[in-house]
Symmetry: D3
Subunit: 249 residues, 6 copies
């Protein structure tokens, strides 16, 4: 997209998606980029529904924590400090606003990012005051509905904390990026067994050595498709409501 | 406690608790200080079990967010920027380490604090390197066990996000600080009805006007005592295990 | 105080006190909390006079310096970096303003805090522009009048720099918190003998080993009462004048 | 690439490329992503020569300046503050080092980035001390040799400052990403006519309205291929020398 | 001084002076540069005594405050934020240390600078750890002895706070830089009449309109010479003791 | 200049120059202060032409880099972090604006400063919004015209990068400050032979050991005068045009 094309799009006040994620271990069967690949694919699905634009994604996010992503013991997890991530968000919202964008959706795929994204948006909105765009911030798994949950986790859901490199992410990757999944390497280890607190230094004995916090064995592309469809429907409905967009003709 | 007393205590390598919280609206029936009063009371309970010390608490924490604390629309919610809170944690861990403390427990009572506490600890531990104390960070509700949950939430648990100024916090306040609870003012409003994302500017129509995100009507002091006892047992057991402390004689 | 009570108070435009201090060694006879306990007690006295509110105090302040507080060699002195303290002030003034507060008094009890409090207020006032509340910043000892000085220091006043854990603070603690003073442990050492400059690394040989920079032996509760009364009268008079409040009916 | 694959690669001490760039107007004929697309393609070329790895690129860089990129007047130029960009670099070098990487090449495609990349590397290297990897930072156009220059700019070279969206970048895009170039929209405007200083507010009258600082009309895919080949040869030779790698077998 | 000369000097481990000050109003009779001109002149005097070096001075310091410098209402007072000044000090100490300097004296002439200089030194010393130089920080007026005070202020000393652009600074300027003093413009206004606290917004009615906080009428060059001589003797004696230098032969 | 004089000048809306530079090695024949001495002298020349004011110069700038200034291996090069330099600029522009200044020229003499000056101005201008002064930022060598270049570099110009302590700076110093040039010590070494990238750690073997990146042997005072005259004419013409000043009567 060239700048005159961008300007033309912006003139009709579209929703602009900023996909955010991380470069982080996702077990031996998924690539390091899962956390930005998924938001990008989901943003693409939803943007088609509501005629939105997608800004280039953030490839790096907040540091991986042991209980939610395996933590710093895994090579290839490349995290930013919290203030760095917040500053990126603040700067990009400021710049999108300067470019005329009035509707922004931060679509995140890395659990640890949430509060630093929040803070970055807070800082931008405070700075921009009445000139601030409307900003929405979401993490995709929060849009799972009961029906989808029942299909994807027929034996129960351990919570998103433990879904790192597990059924949800693997199924979505099998659906969106099948060529990036090494089905033969899905580990079959006991899940994360961590007490309900964080500790420094980290305790590697809590973490499944292969890095998937629950087994991804039950993942299937069909489940991924089911989740993707749920996201497409529910996120676009939410954004239509939020931004007062007409239903799709 | 004077400094020679502190030095004497530190010489036997105690666990030092840093209670963290917030000054924030908690409905018309609870004081603004709930989020620091509870960690202080819980730290007191646990410190007695394991002969720990308690550092003066933090009265201010990360900004209240609409979906978890009612947000900035309520007077009296006085929040810090994320980087400020992280800097406080980093500084205090550095200083406790300098004072000879080797075991630190950050005991938090404000949901929104978690990741900025995490980042503050990360910064301190990275700076201190091999001289870093062992640090544990916890939010009290994560220590609720199934049995206690069943007693406190017989009709089901909406998730800690919606427990702001609701059954859990009100029961604990009735137990620990009965004089601070205005039973006659517990609101009976429908709970928070928010979609699964954040939005700027906030949407006041999502938030119960009185500020309790679920009704606190079912709260009782007995429930509070039950939770407190659960915390006392489970947190002290966790810390004994974590720090290799002997069982209480 | 609940948030509706807070909102009600704020509606009548009260003076809101923010007591600031430090957790810092105060000799073998005073607790680590002197520097926040005294501003809290003084704020309480004055707030009664002018119907003010008191925000939860800051328990941590700028790092103890050798010539004014004994410095980093004493366990239990837990200081913040200057930028951290300034950020706290900036954030809290911004948030008080958002809550509708128009009159703020920062009442400090830790000499080293002054300029970082100043800077925090500067940053907030600059950011808030015309929406800034009126802010007053004071350190309590600056309100000592000649008559009180003559009674408290009949043999001469060494300057507030050397009053750390000495006559003034001990007398005030004996008055406000007698149960926290260990009269039998007041040291009788020669006072701080330091040249007129700071040096890094610190020179421990300048500092009295027990941490009181001048002997507190002449301290009495009666002197403390006399000082407290002076503060009550003079600070409330100053604030009435500053904020255009009517005399007390 | 999964984390075990990454770990395996890192074990043989490879050169890791971090492509950096910007999302910025590049005239009506080139996409907003030129500045990260080119370093990514060049890194790919060179990495094949020296068996290197490529980290996910940075899509956002320092703010576009009028004399070198058209400046903030163009929609779609989304820049970061300098400190944000430096913090990203500092964090990523720290994290790559933690992951075991000992050889890093920052390969940049956005002129304005240079000094903030430099500062980020400075901060990381200072922090890591003796544990720092060896880091190289380059901007691709600095590897143009005289022969290539003669072929690409037969009528003279205005300097890299004026090459924004002009012959060099357009030729390279035609070579690497022909589907992204709108040949029919290459503007034919007079070049940037700016005095030798910056001014705030910017002077739009200095900037060609379409955003290409010199005409890209003479660009050809063959020129792009010639440049790419020059880069491949010269950058891989430089890195072999710099890191003591053997010549390619 | 060239770099080989600097290196030669540093090889003998000299005391290096960093004069710090401010560009700030000093009444209608003194130039804006008093606060850096005086430390520079004093450093020159003392450096001759102890064979020291002088680094280029800082021309800008912390913001002028109403009660100590007249405050922001005066044109020409150009202050830095506290964090900026601290960062400068931190950076310069780090760099002097890298250059081999082991003995640093920060010699300040602007009252408001003290705590931000302190913090900058704290940050540098913490970062440098065992590689830190020894650093001394002083404000020149703290070296006035009783005898000199008696000669300079025969009618009593109002405290350094009120000496802004008054007898002390004017006398020193008359001694060191007579050509920069406009004797005919020394104002004869009543001194600063401010209560013992700061207030935002500032109260211009507290400040003498011409900007000298006490009358400088009694200033003389002879007094300036007397003070300069006192400084020369006492500061060089202090530094000889502090750094273990031999007495001057 | 006193503050009333400053205020009087400002009332006629003058151009205010802020000379910026560095304390940095400049070979064995030039003093460490070249980079601030030259902008100060040039500002003086131009200010006379357009009746401008000169603010006290910055003596310290961004860190010396090996390929442009010899780098950190030379004693006496005392650099600031990038964020520090940007903060100074931001603060000073804010303060000049507060003092009523509407026209600011940052006149720089240290190549490495450029982008951090730019960022500081960006930050100030963004903060000040519509209240921002007009700011110009320049590096003096960018005003060399072809005729002057031909006279100064009859044998060709290696680019400003390699002119560190070489013909341009030495000639200008011989013209402006002949007493500070050690003609007999001009080194005659081969010039900098560095590949087109930066590397950490630095490679000292790239740098001429004496620190002049090209030989200064051809420098003469006459060349310096020629350059100075070119600067005087061209910079004052540019500023007259930029600020809409009348031609000199």
């Amino acid at each position: 997209m060239t700048w005159p094309e961008f300007a033309e799009h912006v003139a009709r006040n579209p929703v602009v998606f900023l996909p955010t994620g991380m470069t982080e271990q996702h077990g031996p069967h998924l690539p390091l980029g899962v956390d930005f690949q998924l938001p990008l694919a989901i943003a693409d699905l939803v943007a088609r529904e509501i005629d939105g634009l997608i800004a280039p994604p953030l490839h790096y996010g907040y540091k991986s924590m042991p209980r939610t992503g395996g933590g710093p013991g895994f090579p290839g997890s490349l995290g930013l400090d919290g203030a760095t991530l917040s500053a990126i968000l603040r700067d990009l919202i400021r710049e999108l606003a300067r470019s005329g964008v009035r509707r922004i959706v931060v679509l995140d795929g890395h659990l640890e990012n949430r509060w630093f994204l929040t803070e970055g948006i807070e800082l931008a909105v405070r700075e921009l005051g009445e000139h601030s765009p409307r900003v929405v911030c979401m993490q995709h798994w929060d849009f799972l509905d009961d029906e989808t949950m029942a299909r994807v986790f027929p034996e129960g859901y351990a919570g998103i904390d433990k879904e790192h490199a597990a059924i949800l992410e693997t199924s979505l990757m099998m659906h969106f990026y099948p060529q990036h999944v090494r089905l033969d390497r899905i580990p079959d280890e006991p899940p994360l067994a961590a007490p309900p607190y964080d500790t420094w230094p980290a305790r590697p004995e809590w973490i499944p050595p292969a890095g998937a916090l629950t087994s991804a064995k039950p993942a299937t592309a069909a489940k991924g498709e089911c989740v993707a469809d749920c996201y497409r429907r529910r996120i676009s409905a939410a954004l239509r409501a939020e931004f007062g967009l007409g239903a799709r003709s």
